[in-house]
Point group: C2
């Protein structure tokens, strides 16, 4: 949804989807911590190349380990801007939803090294934006992310979105806390 | 040198160097045909992402197999332009030059699967531009590549380069043969 909204605003955007990356850049990698780290490093590397050439990359990958996320952030920030969006959702909701049927398999032990069951997920400490996908409408999550990008002057501003207007103060407060917005 | 000249003309350019790619995206891959193919596919994939986001990617990698080069070309051409530059040089000159000392090791058998010794190199059949790095000055090779990019309307034209002026007719003839230039 964020991708669509960005395209509507005329922002060229490339979604670096984890499944696609695993096909093209990471064939043979599994889901151990080491392999996950390599996967995220590669996605981060491609995002860095895109970003420093003026493109906008959305990395849509489960990246459970804080250290690697911070390493990727550092690389991107050499020449571009890195915005970490934390999509927070309680584990029980994820299990209940189980969109791809993977939690069921993880719980039964059919698949191993699954984030959440039993592998850890280390939440970010200072993400630029947090959305609560378990208990808020998708439009609201999306509006908060876009408002964050607007305030960071990364995308053109659009008026008339009720959700966006409601998010403005909270987004500004978070960004100010993180040292943005002068 | 092509990179420098492009930057001088204000073209943002990303060089996808084989060694760097092997560090970031292809760790663990060797030099067998299969591993080389995977390496080139990955470089091609990143070039495609960059190109379709409006950036210019130079792939600086030894890519000995025609089939994979053509596969990458096809992918890039879905939404961008692919220009194949064939840097032709007789093997004996390469061995004589041996910039990295690798030919010596290949000949002695210390390294295996080296392109040229004993592995094959399949020259492209229809490259957009051919330069003869064995017997022409680097400036001339560079000018021919840039003139090709100019004629394909990929970079702004620059006048006053003697080499470029001398190359113009030959570049135009080649591109016309390949079906470019209407």
């Amino acid at each position: 949804m964020v991708e669509e909204k960005l395209l509507e605003r005329g922002v060229e955007v490339e979604v670096l989807d984890s499944d696609e990356m695993r096909t093209h850049l990471c064939k043979g990698l599994g889901f151990s911590k080491e392999d996950r780290d390599t996967n995220i490093r590669r996605i981060g590397y491609v995002a860095k190349l895109l970003a420093r050439n003026g493109a906008c990359a959305i990395t849509a990958a489960i990246s459970p380990y804080r250290e690697i996320r911070d390493e990727v952030r550092k690389g991107v920030q050499e020449r571009s801007i890195f915005v970490e969006a934390y999509l927070e959702c309680p584990l029980d909701k994820l299990v209940e939803r189980d969109a791809k049927g993977l939690y069921k398999k993880a719980i039964s032990g059919e698949i191993e090294n699954f984030t959440g069951v039993p592998d850890p997920y280390e939440p970010p400490l200072k993400p630029e934006v947090v959305v609560h996908t378990g208990d808020e409408p998708e439009q609201q999550s999306c509006a908060r992310i876009l408002k964050t990008l607007e305030m960071l002057k990364l995308v053109p501003e659009v008026t008339g979105d009720d959700y966006a207007a409601a998010e403005e103060a909270a987004v500004a407060a978070r960004l100010r806390d993180l040292g943005y917005l002068g």
